[in-house]
């Protein structure tokens, strides 16, 4: 039995039956990291020794009959933009290369309450800006399915680590597709919850009105389990929604009979790779076969979502990243004689090119004289996008689209052309713009054995519907039984 190939709910069972100890689980992952991390390069920081020590303590407690969560002692990986007390939080930026937060993010506290063990902090595009993890200051993470290709981004480290069995599950963050697109590229399950379902406290902000933390997992049940842990109102984040807690595993029943699935035809047009389209069409057929009612419709506004997204996200980022000024924490230049130089040189030397590009873009669209033409207009379009989705959900339970127009692309092929990189987000951004939940699950591979992702979009706070739709497909298609990453290249 390869422990690292088990899902978390399988590990949970084996822990309960005492077929495995936490130490055995963590040791298996440490061995796996030692063997594969050099190829995948998913981690910014690994915590192998600390994790083993913690595992032993938890086993001890369990032996002594202490009441623990059924998940206690299972490891997890955390994207390196969530604050962990005492452990570096770098955002894969030179700016925060040595930054250690004095506090835990709310999600990290929630993981700690379950006694989940932090195996390390996972690589990402700098400050979550990018779609390939190539913009990390430290390293380029490789896609376990083909090491010459990117894992997607910005949560590329999280998705690659889950796909390569370096962690059983991980947390990512999604501002315009940063959980779903890498999950699609790496053949794993990635869920972006409804805006406001998960607290953002302790998530280093990229774009405050779009950012959400979510699970990246091997299967849909694990996704529901991790969502159970992290969802919920937090008084430290007033944008987090106060509502009754749900058990998202309870509604996984494998039944989509009568489920109304809408297919927005704009997501299947020009620019979508033919093999991707073909697999999506097969998936649609599968849903029909399972008794879902599928209908094509037009979501015309979607074509404006990408432009809207880049205006709003960059505007907020330009303000959110102002605090990295070299004064209180983070990188400070050695090269200054006055305050202005201190600011200018610290930020010039501390930020990478993509971050600078977005700060400049965002500063521009908020400038006096341009605000109305860009930022204000984008907010108006955002309202229209929300309305269009509201209308769609009057008719449909779930919308189905590709997660990305293509499979994982080769490293270096897009990093020089920002606009082409931005197109990788075209299927995912409207979900963030509208604040909706979206999940990406694998629905096949292309001719080169590279995974293809399907995105299911739900109405606000109806995660259970997309989770069950995804679960039902997963049970039918059995992707993990058919395909495994090969670490080729």
């Amino acid at each position: 039995m390869d422990i690292t190939n088990l899902t978390v709910h399988e590990l949970q069972e084996k822990l309960a039956k005492q077929e495995l100890t936490s130490e055995e689980i963590v040791q298996a992952y440490v061995n796996r990291i030692n063997a594969k991390e050099k190829d995948v390069k998913a981690f910014v920081t690994t915590l192998c020794d600390e994790a083993l020590k913690e595992a032993k303590e938890i086993d001890e407690k369990r032996k002594n009959g202490e009441k623990l969560s059924s998940l206690a002692g299972i490891p997890i990986g955390i994207k390196d933009n969530m604050c962990t007390k005492g452990v570096k939080t770098t955002c894969s930026s030179r700016m925060l290369e040595n930054f250690v937060a004095p506090y835990n993010a709310t999600v990290v506290e929630k993981l700690n309450e379950e006694n989940l063990i932090d195996l390390g902090k996972l690589n990402m595009d700098e400050f979550a800006m990018g779609a390939s993890t190539e913009y990390s200051y430290f390293k380029k993470t490789c896609n376990p399915w083909n090491l010459k290709t990117v894992p997607g981004g910005s949560s590329g480290g999280s998705a690659a680590a889950v796909a390569a069995n370096l962690v059983p599950w991980a947390l990512g963050s999604d501002t315009g597709g940063s959980i779903r697109q890498p999950s699609s590229f790496c053949g794993v399950v990635g869920l972006k919850p409804t805006y406001g379902l998960v607290s953002r406290y302790g998530l280093v902000a990229f774009a405050s009105s779009l950012d959400q933390i979510g699970p990246i997992t091997k299967d849909v049940r694990d996704s529901a389990m991790l969502l159970n842990i992290i969802a919920g109102h937090d008084e430290r984040d007033t944008t987090s929604y106060n509502m009754q807690k749900k058990d998202y595993t309870k509604t996984l029943n494998g039944n989509v009979k009568g489920l109304k699935i809408g297919i927005p035809k704009e997501y299947f047009g020009e620019g979508i790779n033919e093999e991707v389209k073909a697999k999506l069409e097969e998936a649609i057929e599968t849903y029909k076969k399972l008794g879902a009612e599928v209908e094509e419709f037009s979501l015309d506004i979607a074509q404006y979502a990408l432009a809207t997204y880049y205006i709003i996200a960059c505007a907020e980022a330009s303000s959110n990243l102002g605090r990295f000024d070299g004064i209180r924490y983070g990188y400070r230049t050695e090269n200054y004689t006055n305050l202005k130089e201190l600011y200018k040189n610290s930020r010039s030397e501390g930020f990478g090119p993509e971050v600078k590009r977005r700060i400049i873009l965002g500063t521009y669209v908020l400038s006096s004289g341009y605000y109305d033409a860009y930022y204000k207009k984008a907010q108006q379009v955002r309202t229209l996008v929300k309305k269009e989705f509201d209308k769609a959900f009057e008719k449909y339970d779930v919308l189905l689209t590709p997660t990305s127009p293509t499979v994982a692309f080769e490293m270096g092929t897009r990093s020089e052309n920002p606009l082409e990189m931005y197109l990788a987000d075209i299927c995912t951004v409207s979900v963030n713009i509208a604040g909706l939940p979206g999940i990406s699950i694998p629905c096949g591979v292309n001719g080169d054995n590279m995974p293809i992702g399907m995105q299911l979009i739900g109405n606000k706070f109806e995660e259970e519907k997309i989770l069950n739709a995804a679960y039902t497909f997963e049970q039918e298609y059995k992707f993990r039984e058919k395909y495994q990453p090969e670490f080729k290249g």
Partner: protein, 480 residues
């Protein structure tokens, strides 16, 4: 103003720190004067990943201020980011309010220089957070940042350009300060910077309807300095115009020592703050009940208190106005009056000797070191004839230096009034013997000579002799 062909136009932006226990977006203390960076947390230090949570008290206090200044309260309001880089602003943006302030379209009534009532418009009142402080070379070399003040809640009260003289500005500011003190939303301690003003000044020819180009002088925190600054700036601008020049729109700094304004930045350097709605905070929605509830619970305001003093205590309009201008002074008056029952005397002491000493010390009424009970006791001692009012004046001086029960002060200092007939006679005899000329004058019909003799006797007893008894004794002996 040197040139009477011109009139000045002033508008003020007043920043008042709110007297909430905790900061506007976190639960750190707002207490003044702590060691640097001891009242901070990850949120007010703007650590990555932290989020603001709006302190509800701040909204309540701002609404109170709005209602007390006759504003319309916006039921639908929000926060906005004002972006700029400065080391005292750790987020690199201030969370303020841009296009939807909590309160709008209010006014305050003051008197113009002729004593006629005049309404000064309040454009808006909005909430925002204060910045930290930079200590330059205070702790060794370089500049160090103290973030204790970062996140202390402020309201900014923006007036219409309705003010025309330094006197009006002074009365407007004092009235505003008094209102904020009355409703207990700010302690308005100017020396601690919790009540400060940006002063906009422009001038124009009398009769002109368009405004002139204005300058803005930042962070003024004394009434005297504001008056001086307005006079200086008005004359400076008139002089420029008279010499055919143009007033530059610029931001100025007042220098107290030279009594001049200096340019900080001109229009070209004006910062683009790139305001946009704060995405980390939800919109502020207030219900009618919420607003009504605050309105119902507003305390008695200076105007109605003044009216009550005139009817209940028969005080003059002037005395009632002066007393109620400061809530602290007014409260002290009421407390002391309750104990001794002599409203006139209490008002007199507060408005004469106590106010004079405060003026000399350049302090506000809340700096009075003694209690209302002490003042009441003083009045009682005089009323009972235990001490003279001349001694009373000395007691007040002493109360400022060494506040305690006036009875003890009198005992310690030996200031008890001499009311013993024998002792009085002794003094009177002595004064008569030593001043034959005055005695002769009196007998020749010059009544004023009696006053002189009594004064001499008071001097002889260091003010301790009972004045009524002295008078009586002199009359008795001299008429023999």
């Amino acid at each position: 103003m040197v040139n009477t062909d011109y009139e000045a136009v002033m508008g003020l932006e007043v920043h008042a720190e709110l007297a909430t226990k905790t900061k506007i977006f976190c639960s750190c203390s707002t207490k003044f004067g702590a060691e640097p960076n001891t009242q901070v947390c990850p949120i007010c230090m703007a650590m990555p990943g932290t989020l603001p949570v709006l302190n509800e008290k701040v909204v309540e206090y701002a609404v109170k201020a709005g209602l007390a200044t006759n504003c319309t309260i916006s039921k639908d309001s929000k926060n906005d980011r004002k972006n700029y880089f400065y080391p005292d602003t750790p987020r690199a943006y201030q969370i303020s309010q841009y296009d939807k302030p909590l309160c709008e379209h209010g006014y305050i009534e003051i008197e113009d220089d002729e004593g006629n009532p005049k309404k000064i418009g309040i454009t808006r009142i909005h909430i925002e957070d204060d910045a930290g402080k930079l200590n330059h070379n205070e702790f060794g070399g370089g500049s160090l940042v103290d973030l204790n003040r970062a996140g202390v809640p402020l309201i900014e009260i923006v007036s219409e350009p309705d003010l025309r003289t330094a006197g009006e500005v002074d009365r407007y500011l004092k009235k505003l300060k008094s209102i904020l003190e009355y409703i207990e939303v700010s302690d308005c301690k100017m020396q601690e910077g919790s009540f400060r003003a940006d002063v906009n000044v422009s001038v124009r020819k009398k009769g002109e309807t368009k405004f002139g180009t204005r300058t803005e002088t930042k962070n003024m925190s004394s009434f005297r300095a504001i008056t001086r600054e307005i006079e200086y700036e008005t004359n400076r601008q008139i002089e420029i115009l008279e010499n055919g020049g143009k007033v530059e729109q610029e931001t100025l700094r007042w220098d107290e020592v030279s009594g001049k304004t200096f340019s900080m930045r001109n229009k070209e350097d004006a910062q683009d703050y790139r305001y946009f709605p704060e995405p980390d905070l939800v919109a502020i929605r207030l219900s009618d009940e919420y607003i009504e509830n605050i309105r119902k619970n507003l305390p008695e305001m200076p105007e109605s208190r003044k009216a009550r003093y005139m009817s209940e205590f028969k005080l003059s309009e002037k005395d009632a106005r002066l007393l109620t201008a400061s809530k602290y002074l007014s409260n002290m008056f009421e407390d002391a009056e309750k104990i001794c029952g002599n409203a006139k005397a209490v008002a007199n002491w507060l408005l004469s000797d106590v106010s004079r000493i405060l003026n000399e010390k350049e302090e506000e009424p809340d700096a009075i070191p003694f209690k209302a009970e002490h003042l009441a006791k003083l009045v009682e001692l005089i009323d009972k004839g235990t001490i003279s009012s001349a001694i009373g004046k000395k007691v007040v001086e002493e109360l400022f230096e060494n506040p305690k029960d006036p009875e003890e002060i009198i005992k310690e200092k030996g200031w008890l009034q001499i009311s013993d007939e024998g002792a009085i006679k002794e003094v009177v005899d002595k004064i008569i013997a030593n001043n034959p000329q005055s005695v002769a004058d009196y007998k020749a019909g010059k009544d004023r000579a009696l006053g002189f003799l009594v004064g001499q006797a008071m001097k002889e007893t260091k003010g301790k002799a009972n004045p009524q008894m002295l008078n009586k004794m002199f009359l008795e002996i001299l008429s023999k």
